[in-house]
């Protein structure tokens, strides 16, 4: 397997590379001190596995993963054990290693990657949706959300506000990520910052819809699709 290491600390790169040298068939092809250089490399080269730190200047490990269209397997390497649950939001993240990494723990992570690669099914490693539910990460707890109960999702910087019939949640995620998890027959992105549940619409005006007590803007580009999806008389 060809791998790259991304870590802004030279000490961490040296240690990860040394640990990897103990594992047969694992080849470190490049090391990067920042994610931007890694992105440039990955635009022209394919790798099987990425070891990435989370806390880096400019781009975090999570920001980096989000830039990848078809990410290979990723093993996060970090001194921060508090972000493990965030990793569940990314299908490509196979494991989460807390520094200082020890060889047996790395070997276990590599076995997971190999097992994934030998499995021809396309099941994600960390599946966050199960039938009509999805799990969101709030204060290190995974909370089960009934998808049809979601009224709307609003993008707010690095977070999304997810409003259900009974509760409102603030989640560290992106609108794109949750859009991929929601059934397209029930949900529609009506604005760059809003996804709505079509069944929860109370009324519609020219460029807005009312859901719960929220007036949601509808962009001009998304309005035709919204109108098509409604059961108009």
């Amino acid at each position: 397997m060809n791998c790259i290491i991304i870590d802004d600390e030279a000490t961490a790169r040296v240690i990860t590379a040394k640990l990897c040298s103990n594992i047969p068939n694992l080849h470190i092809v490049e090391e990067f001190s920042n994610a931007i250089e890694a992105i440039k490399y990955l635009n022209q080269n394919e790798v099987d596995l990425i070891f990435s730190d989370i806390h880096m200047p400019d781009f975090t490990g999570f920001d980096f993963i989000e830039t990848l269209k078809n990410p290979p397997a990723v093993i996060l390497t970090t001194s921060d054990s508090n972000l493990a649950l965030n990793a569940f939001e990314y299908d490509c993240i196979v494991d989460y290693l807390v520094k200082p990494i020890e060889l047996p723990r790395l070997e276990k992570a590599i076995r997971k990657v190999e097992s994934l690669k030998s499995n021809t099914s396309s099941q994600p490693v960390l599946d966050t949706t199960l039938e009509n539910h999805l799990y969101i990460n709030i204060d290190r707890r995974l909370i089960k959300i009934d998808i049809p109960s979601i009224c709307l999702v609003e993008a707010k910087g690095d977070y999304i506000n997810l409003k259900t019939e009974t509760e409102d949640y603030r989640v560290h995620s992106s609108l794109k990520k949750i859009e991929d998890k929601l059934p397209a027959n029930l949900f529609l992105k009506v604005h760059r910052s809003y996804i709505i549940n079509l069944k929860k619409i109370i009324d519609i005006e020219d460029n807005s819809v009312l859901i719960k007590k929220d007036v949601i803007p509808v962009s001009r580009a998304n309005r035709p699709e919204l109108m098509n999806r409604l059961n108009l008389l």
């Binding site: 600390e9 030279a10 000490t11 040296v14 240690i15 640990l19 806390h55 921060d80 200082p100």
Partner: protein
Amino acid sequence: MEEPNYSYINELSRGDEAFKNKLLDVVKNEFPEEKDIFIKNFESGNLELAAANVHKLKFKISILGLVKSYAVAEKFEENLKENSVEGYEEFGQILQKITDFLETL
């Protein structure tokens, strides 16, 4: 106070002295810079950045086998995130221990 030691580095090196020296050289180069950045951010009152610096320094603390000091640093990092400077003195002593140790290499 506990002393820096080679327990993790020896386990990692498995007798590879060239690697061990290379790693210690890297630590010796990186640590003073990280320490200076931390002090600069702390003294200028930028506790959020100082917390991020402590986060980086924790890694060096851990690879030098300073288990108790790591816990102290972890607590100090949390304090800084909550705008408290409690633990600064103890953390400073840890940094000084490491500085002294690296100077002997």
